[in-house]
């Protein structure tokens, strides 16, 4: 084993990688031609890293190709902009277009979005799996029973547990008390972490290596089993010969604006190509690779979320505690909404705090008393994913009227809870409602706001669909065995194959589905449908 960083001594999992296990496109000289592996995995996020690890565990040789850089734990800083420019797609400026612009948060680094999310572990709700069976014909292939051993294994591997008392934080503590006072069952978040110190820095990368993102878990574990990582390499297309996926062509990338000319990377896959590039990038990669399924890029869904901020009469201190420490699923089925907490970094809080000039400064000075609670909607609206003229990705989506209605009710509920928890003022962030409301009587203004998406400040974090799974090639992109209907040996294992959204944080479902797929592929349970 060779030390990847010579100084100081290893402390985090990602400090040490086997000699020659990483080819870094930012610094690699010359082209990489015809590296040959059993499987090439595109993407190193929740889906790709887990698939790569499972395949490597089965004894297969594996290449992981990741578009972004590998930012190591000891490089993580406090600055949100520093994280945006190095680890987020489009430096954090990506948006969904529709009747309004909805910011879209995606990681673009080794570990993908697991580097900056809150590592929340929710098993796929059984009512969702039942719906997939009933409406999308996945019965028998994707079941709670089939997923259970994978959930069990992932929970063990990644230390999933409820947030410990000493890392909970006052923002989450107040939420739990208030939700229960409202008769809403609420729980501490289950997360993958080991040794969380409550730094409230999940969003910019855990500086303690406690959060079990893929950058410190399945990626280094796969490398230890012999896998090779090509980071800062963007896959341009999957190479298809005689109806079968046989490799990928990629180009080196850089996060630096004045980077050198890209170099070509060509990797051969003897047994298959596993696409796990995310709901946005996977369908466009398949399109660039020549797939033309009618449903490719269709049925995009998400969980739009809105954060409600309140100024309390006592310290909240969002700078301490689990970034997302508490939640309530009480209204997930009845109202399609989920309530949770969020420790917002000061840079984003300064945007969320209403006003400009002296008014903003006075409120910002009370940052230690600021609390943020979030409502996410299991939105029914569907959108599309297409390539944009610039070569980037174009996502079109507009929330449906019923989604707006649910969002409005969820926000009103959170506002009431905040006032009852002692908020002096609440900032709804809704156009048409005063920027600050000062009493519970004014919450009705939220209930009355026009259901216009342009009035709301949604953010999209959980993304689904666009390469939908199903048995019918006319209505889906991949079969229930994760293999593309059009190309043998081409598998899609990320949340783009999910027939619907979930209503809960999806990382656990993505990883379990991916592990299920990789296990079946490695065991030879998936047969080519197209003759090679």
């Amino acid at each position: 084993m060779a030390r990847h960083l010579d100084n100081p001594p290893p402390r985090f999992t990602d400090d040490v990688v086997p000699e020659g296990a990483v080819v870094d496109g930012e610094t690699h000289e010359g082209e990489v031609e015809d590296g040959s592996f059993d499987y090439v995995v595109v993407g190193s996020g929740a889906a790709g890293a887990v698939a790569a690890h499972a395949l490597a565990e089965s004894g297969a040789s594996v290449a992981i190709v990741e578009e972004g850089p590998w930012v190591k734990t000891r490089e993580f800083g406090e600055s949100v902009y520093g994280a945006f420019k190095r680890m987020f797609r489009d430096a954090g400026t990506q948006v969904i277009e529709g009747r309004s612009f909805v910011p879209l948060i995606q990681g673009r680094c080794v570990g993908g979005s697991t580097v900056m999310n809150s590592a929340i572990a929710h098993r796929t709700p059984e009512d969702v799996l039942d719906d997939w069976t009933a409406r999308f014909g996945l019965g028998g292939a994707i079941t709670a029973k089939a997923l259970e051993p994978h959930f069990d294994a992932l929970e063990r591997q990644l230390h999933a547990h409820a947030v410990f008392d000493d890392a909970l934080g006052q923002n989450s503590r107040m939420f739990l008390d208030e939700a229960r006072a409202h008769g809403l069952p609420a729980e501490r978040m289950h997360r993958y972490e080991e040794g969380c110190r409550g730094s409230a820095r999940c969003f910019t990368g855990c500086p303690n290596g406690a959060k079990q993102g893929m950058n410190v878990a399945h990626v280094p574990w796969a490398l230890a089993l012999g896998a090779r990582l090509y980071c800062s390499c963007k896959v341009e297309r999957v190479v298809v010969e005689r109806g079968r996926a046989v490799g990928v062509v990629a180009w080196t990338t850089s996060t630096e604006p004045d980077a050198r000319r890209p170099r070509r990377v060509r990797l051969h896959a003897r047994r298959g190509v596993i696409v796990a590039a995310s709901t946005i990038q996977s369908p466009n990669l398949l399109r660039r690779s020549g797939l033309r399924a009618r449903s490719l890029g269709e049925h995009f869904q998400c969980h739009p979320g809105v954060g409600l901020a309140g100024m309390f009469d006592r310290p909240v201190d969002m700078g301490f505690g689990a970034t997302q420490g508490a939640e309530s699923l009480a209204l997930r089925r009845s109202d399609k909404i989920k309530l949770e907490t969020l420790a917002m970094p000061p840079e984003l809080a300064a945007v969320r705090i209403p006003g400009v000039g002296r008014e903003l400064m006075q409120r910002f000075g009370l940052f230690p008393r600021l609390g943020v609670w979030v409502m996410t909607v299991r939105a029914e609206a569907e959108g599309t994913v297409r390539p944009a003229w610039s070569g980037r990705d174009k996502v079109r989506w507009t929330p449906a009227p019923i989604d707006m209605d649910r969002a409005r009710r969820g926000m009103a509920l959170l506002a009431r809870m905040m006032f009852e928890a002692g908020a002096r003022e609440v900032w709804p962030g809704l156009h048409g409602v005063p920027t600050a409301i000062h009493s519970i009587d004014q919450v009705r203004l939220i209930d009355e706001v026009a259901p216009d998406p342009r009035a709301f400040g949604f953010i999209a974090t959980h993304l689904f669909g666009a390469c939908r799974m199903g048995p019918d090639p006319r209505a889906s992109v991949v079969g229930p065995d994760f293999q593309a209907h059009e190309v043998a040996g081409l598998y899609v294992v990320d949340s783009s194959v999910f027939p619907t959204n979930l209503g809960v944080n999806p990382q656990h479902s993505i990883m379990a589905m991916s592990r299920l797929a990789a296990t079946r592929i490695a065991a030879g349970e998936v047969r080519s449908r197209v003759a090679a």
Binding site: G77, S79, A91, T255, P346, A349, F364, G365
Partner: protein, 143 residues
Amino acid sequence: MKLTRFEMAWAVAALVGVFPGSVDTGFASIASMDVPGFLGEALRRIPLRAALGLRAAIWIVAFAPLPTLGRFRTIARLGQADRERVLARLAASNSYAVRSLVMMLKTFGALLYAADDGVRARIEIPAVTANIVPLRVRRVQAA
């Protein structure tokens, strides 16, 4: 994409309108930070469309004193109180495009302003340069 000297002056004036700092609040003004360096670097990194949006925001704010205050001068030629009036009206505009672009400008300002070590010290948050967070097992007591 690069901003012209005039555009940069408008951008700095607008951001000072948003984040002026003051003695009574204990905050420094964003004017004391490297706004041109930050915006210049950001504009080289972000996609073209986002850069065009930011540039549009700067132009809207620059010439907003005329429609909002009836004054024929740019934002850079206004005093702080008038800048705040202009920006507050734009932020509450009925035009979705206008208020979204102004919010975008505020966002870029916030990314610079709230990353400043002095600002963070004022709100009791560790400096951006603090890479490894010391163990802080403590509770916030209710008042």
